[in-house]
């Protein structure tokens, strides 16, 4: 009996000591939502690493093209599932942002963007997703940006959404311009793959100049109302001014603005020194 009692005591102490460890472990791994989300993201990272290794080992062009890069879209449905299963867990927002930042298109991206507008329109965390969604260039991306700019109570998020919307419209305008002058099926197909067929159909139907003007108005609104908001190292006003400058002075058919500066040895030279010659301007870096 004595022995039993002693053992029970030991068990008791072991349990007591282990208890904080158990809770710590749960804390470290996070909620079930966090665990599920992390597991999927880890799988995607592992697949990327494997693809990278396969690519660097591949010797022939065939082997290189066989090393398929895993797209985020392949994982988006499960990530979206986590956000839908645990809508009240903070991880739901992280999951939706992951989809918005990593996916270019697809129903899951569209669903994630709709949920972000419905439920997270005031959360500062969506700031980076707003800037990145330009890559998606879809009807839903446009809806997301308009939704944030109208519904958010945060000036920073509204401003970021409008800068990105302006960039999207600018992209649409130049794509639309191209599609109005190049009507062959091959171009339409390529642009369809890039922007989505629904966007291409719209761009073929509307006047690209109208899109241009709307883009310019959008940037002007940013400068007037949200110019002081920050994005990375610049203000949104500076970003919008650069975009307007590009639209008004750096388009095909416009006289290039003067460039004055020094070479690496401190010798001054200017673009206008080369008037009369065909000039290729190459913005480059050796990295």
């Amino acid at each position: 009996m004595e022995q039993w009692g002693h053992r029970s005591l030991v068990k008791f102490w072991v349990l007591l000591c282990a208890f904080p460890l158990v809770t710590l472990a749960a804390e470290k791994n996070g909620s079930p939502a966090k665990q599920e989300f992390s597991k999927i993201v880890q799988e995607q990272k592992d697949a990327e690493r494997q693809a990278q290794e396969a690519y660097s080992k591949a010797k022939t062009a065939d082997e290189k093209s066989a090393a398929k890069w895993p797209s985020a879209e392949e994982y988006a449905h499960r990530v979206l599932g986590v956000a839908q299963k645990y809508p009240d867990d903070p991880v739901a927002l992280d999951a939706l942002i992951w989809i918005a930042q990593n996916c270019r298109r697809g129903d899951d991206l569209n669903a994630a963007l709709r949920l972000l507008v419905e439920k997270h329109v005031n959360d500062a965390k969506i700031g980076d997703a707003i800037l990145r969604v330009l890559h998606a260039a879809s009807k839903e991306a446009e809806g997301f940006l308009r939704g944030v700019s109208e519904k958010s109570s945060s000036d920073e998020l509204k401003g970021k959404a409008l800068v990105t919307l302006g960039r999207l419209l600018k992209k649409y305008a130049s794509a639309g311009q191209f599609l109005h002058t190049n009507t062959s099926a091959k171009y339409v197909e390529n642009y369809g793959k890039w922007l989505g067929e629904d966007v291409v159909a719209k761009l073929q139907a509307v006047d690209p100049d109208g899109l241009r003007k709307e883009a310019e108005r959008t940037f002007e609104t940013v400068i007037a109302k949200y110019g002081r908001q920050k994005s990375d190292s610049r203000t949104l006003g500076d970003s919008a001014k650069s975009e307007l400058f590009e639209m008004r002075h750096l388009g095909i058919g416009m006289v290039a603005p003067e460039i004055q500066g020094k070479d690496v040895d401190g010798r001054k030279f200017a673009l206008s020194d080369y008037r009369g010659k065909v000039v290729v301007l190459d913005f480059w870096g050796h990295w």
Partner: protein, 99 residues
């Protein structure tokens, strides 16, 4: 990019043509790269990073970015590479009136 640029510059020797760079490397790295890659054309040194004043004014967000200007200084092509770049340059050279 470099081999193609080198051959373009070589092919254009003696013609009214210039390749001009706007470079975003730190000075010592730019000097090394010019030596190693045999870069003979001039570049403006734009402050040592991708946020330099010329790049800002030109709203550059990807590298390399290429613009092709005609002899009047008008922007005629953007983002052309390789064969398309050669064709663009040839087309614009042909537009220069004979002296």
């Amino acid at each position: 990019m470099y081999p193609h640029e080198r051959s373009l510059v070589k092919r254009m020797e003696g013609k009214p043509f210039a390749l001009l760079g706007i470079n975003s490397d730190p000075k010592d790295e730019l000097r090394k790269a010019m030596k190693k890659e045999n870069i003979t054309w001039r570049s403006w040194w734009d402050g040592g990073d991708t946020d330099g004043p010329i790049q800002r004014q030109w709203n550059i967000r990807g590298w390399p970015t290429v613009y092709v200007l005609d002899h009047k200084g008008v922007i005629r092509f953007e983002g052309v590479r390789d064969k398309a770049l050669d064709q663009a340059v040839d087309q614009l050279l042909a537009e220069i009136p004979n002296k």
